[in-house]
Symmetry: D2
Subunit: 172 residues, 4 copies
Amino acid sequence: MRRLQIAVIGYNQDKSSEKTNQIAYQVGTEIAKANAVLICGGLGGVMENACKGAKDHGGMTVGIIPQEESKFANKFCDVVIATGIGYARDFVVATSADGIIAVGGGVGTLIELCVGYMLKKILVTIPSSGGTAENFGGRYLDDRKRVFIQTSQDAHTAVKIISDYFGSQQES
Amino acid sequence: MRRLQIAVIGYNQDKSSEKTNQIAYQVGTEIAKANAVLICGGLGGVMENACKGAKDHGGMTVGIIPQEESKFANKFCDVVIATGIGYARDFVVATSADGIIAVGGGVGTLIELCVGYMLKKILVTIPSSGGTAENFGGRYLDDRKRVFIQTSQDAHTAVKIISDYFGSQQES
Amino acid sequence: MRRLQIAVIGYNQDKSSEKTNQIAYQVGTEIAKANAVLICGGLGGVMENACKGAKDHGGMTVGIIPQEESKFANKFCDVVIATGIGYARDFVVATSADGIIAVGGGVGTLIELCVGYMLKKILVTIPSSGGTAENFGGRYLDDRKRVFIQTSQDAHTAVKIISDYFGSQQES
Amino acid sequence: MRRLQIAVIGYNQDKSSEKTNQIAYQVGTEIAKANAVLICGGLGGVMENACKGAKDHGGMTVGIIPQEESKFANKFCDVVIATGIGYARDFVVATSADGIIAVGGGVGTLIELCVGYMLKKILVTIPSSGGTAENFGGRYLDDRKRVFIQTSQDAHTAVKIISDYFGSQQES
């Protein structure tokens, strides 16, 4: 049985606040504890802090980066997918995830949320982290109402919503 | 001097109403009259009606489709770009446009709007066409406020906003 | 009835010789005379000279570039598709073509030939132009023998092989 | 220090012989023993057998598939990257690899070899496995001679060529 793949999406380092980074770290920690694989865009800010949280707790991390050279990934990625397809890699992050957690984030994060929505992935945001997570949590993105974007107060619950949905594939 | 490339984004045929299709037809008409090239996702609904409007008025149309076979394009596309990259082709529609006009639309349209926003394209929606055009016009998409999404009452003004921005490359 | 889309693939400006550029110009000329749309990678060398040949003879040209900004296209492209997906755009050039003509070319050209081969496009090379056109014309690319790569002595015949295959969609 | 990522490329299940599958299994085994991460296209044939070899020996495997749904991956992939970009995912397999080993293979394998060549990755084929590995080993792919495609008699040596190049990042 393959491990769950949970994507963490959010700000790059240029916009992420200390508070948002801490939430990202906690999300990474909880993904590791749930024995899921952390998928992300592989760059800085929320992505890097989530990866660090996962690695500090024995997790596995995958960075799917826009560039065609692995060196652009943050150093906490176990596996680097160097797509070379630019920001269209946002699609690959979302399609590769079983569930998606948004922490802060700008319009790139919104794109990833939209792709997940289109594909009816389990979507959760942590509104206290700001940005896209705050502005687009607790709602639908279009009139078809394909999947409700859930909100969570904290990292533990956010991961639990996804792992509960897929059943108890982990023993933690 | 290359002609302006204006993208029309919006509903596929399964969601587009008669009214929305008429607005799309008018947008295509106005793009042709402005001597610009119409770019779109090449499928049905808003895309097909916009292409038809342009072709009925001597315009040039380009359909950038998700599939790798040209046969999936609507029959009003002069040129078909069969990307084969699935819905990640939304990125290509937006990056290839000098300006973007949203007519109705669901979450796919929102993705294209987001990509245009990220790249600071001129963005205009026609809110009376419903959907994404109604819900996301007249606002920013993230806290960076990269580009304000303008709104227009009608097709003529929507095209004029874009062609005026790029100066008088046409004689209409 | 949509016009035929013929791709011209080959060297970028850093490797293309004067002779190869002249052949590319002739291929572009013949595509225009056949009333087909010229598709190419939109950059320099073979791509630019083919586009120039087509434009000098009233043709239509489309450049499908790796970058996400149109400014990188050569100035003889009527339409620029700014894919932003890097050299994976080689796939889009080949999938968008009804037939493909190779003029010179290195490994990027070989990739485009391979994609066309995989999809059973009509493939023609002009061996006298050197490079991939010389080394991979007149053969199959794998043991499945999906489509034989034809060779041509000159630009006129190369275009004729493709347009004859698709019937007389033009009056020239 | 990130673990080496070695790509195994080759036939899908419809063309792969028993012998080729056995070689693929051995290559996967050796990649696991070298403590490298196995990267592949995630489908059947050479890809599946290489993954199985790695999993039987405690390795880690990543499948980068053309589809946008993970269910199309073979069951020996620890991580599935569901690109949704079709066969353009061949680029992602090659760009994500530090070194590439070809086992059998048709024109899709040749595309991956070409991308690796363009990016000057360490390339090794096992000619006895047939197909692209036989036909394109021990040569250059274009006149620029960017990187010589090495050949190997067996799986152990193929992996050793790559791991030796990157130094002793493993203790096996």
